[in-house]
Symmetry: C2
Subunit: 249 residues, 2 copies
């Protein structure tokens, strides 16, 4: 397999960076090819804005979708966006490694979706969901949180983690990915500052690295999260009235 | 009331900008003071990174939370973050105006949370949720979508809009806000390109502006979305075993 790890954390010695490294080493050790897109190291610009589009379809009014499609077709997307799309197209499996900040991915990674998942290229009105251009590929989020896992349970005050992951899982499915259940590493405290903090950090890290590398070896055989698709929806994009899933609730 | 509108859209003549303007005019017309934080116009940097912190508590290891608290206490936060915090502290009501991009706020606005909601300032372990520093203030998201409203219904393929709004609503509540039900404007097409597109755009805009201004006038009397709070949770941050809400399902 060819694997792309999209890594999003500002500190090179962070827990996230260590999980990225263990994934890279484990997968390469298993004979796969691994490519890393380190968004902070690349100083990736996450803001979708007019300045990224050199030959505007409409110079008077900026519509991100209009310009994305126009520049994709002319092969004139910004260099960093083209590079990320090429990386996605090479990958059989994409791993997103990031900390949960404010109930979602850091702005840097959110903007990777905003800019790289271009209209007219990675999706269109007809080519999305289970007809998305990236279908047949798999994606998984490896996420760290500061708060402990109990608070992310169904009745926990941090919010059910399944609900918090839902938007990003929807986005991955939208372009065609099969989405695997996320790798969740709860209660991660920052490193640095003192020897004591670092000792706790390293002890937790060793356990979580083992858990992650153990799972990575069997990833190819995991069943993805089930989503409904074009066959399930009516003309309005809603689950058909008679669909069996409607009877589950 | 003093009202802060945080506006996030790259095109000054966009539907979002028009909704921002109608909110500003309606509320000023009703005698309120209105302040606008136009994130794109300010070229706000949404990326939380070491470069924003001039006098590091830990120069060897970057932890965003450590540096946020350290710089907040020393009153040495970056100028743009200090300005946004001052705006929040002046506001009785905060309106977030943005388009739904990839199942969430644009990176620019996601990073406004990442950078402005500083640890040690806008929250701490003891001061969050219904004990958050911004308690007593209200917040509302005014959101546009490209896809039609039917696809955002419970069984719709775009995902239930209540679920997609959940992460950002959680973040607003976390610092103490009372969160009002969002103002949802579905099926917004980009303007520009042609007279025909613009005609559809303007017709829809007029209807949605009226709907929004009509609601704004009664906003002070609306009941906020109910959240559980410190009184409801056990020591692990989970809804108590005997809590009446557990019997609702």
């Amino acid at each position: 397999m060819h694997i792309l790890i999209v890594h999003c954390h500002p500190e090179p010695r962070s827990f996230n960076a260590a999980l990225k490294d263990v994934a890279s080493e484990t997968l390469e050790g298993d004979g796969h090819r691994v490519e890393v897109s380190d968004l902070y190291a690349q100083n990736f610009d996450p803001v979708e804005r007019p300045e990224h589009f050199a030959s505007r379809a409409d110079a008077a009014y900026f519509s991100a979708l209009t310009e994305q499609r126009h520049h994709y077709r002319r092969d004139e997307l910004a260099t960093d966006v083209r590079r990320e799309i090429e990386r996605l197209e090479r990958a059989d499996l994409v791993i997103l490694q990031f900390p949960l900040w404010w109930h979602g991915p850091p702005a840097m990674l959110k903007g990777w979706f905003d800019r790289v998942f271009v209209y007219g290229g990675l999706y269109s009105g007809q080519r999305r969901f289970d007809r998305g251009p990236l279908r047949g590929r798999r994606a998984i989020c490896s996420v760290t949180t500061g708060a402990p896992g109990t608070t992310f349970s169904t009745w926990g005050r941090s919010g059910d983690i399944t609900a918090l992951m839902w938007p990003i899982h929807c986005s991955l499915y939208y372009v065609g990915f099969e989405v695997l259940a996320p790798q969740l590493t709860y209660g991660v405290q920052g490193g640095g500052l003192s020897y004591q903090v670092d000792a706790v950090f390293r002890r937790q890290l060793e356990a979580d690295k083992q858990r992650w590398s153990g799972r990575l070896e069997g990833l190819a055989n995991e069943a993805p999260i089930p989503f409904t698709g074009w066959q399930d929806w009516d003309d309005d994009g809603v689950l058909s009235q008679t669909h069996p899933l409607r009877w589950r609730v």
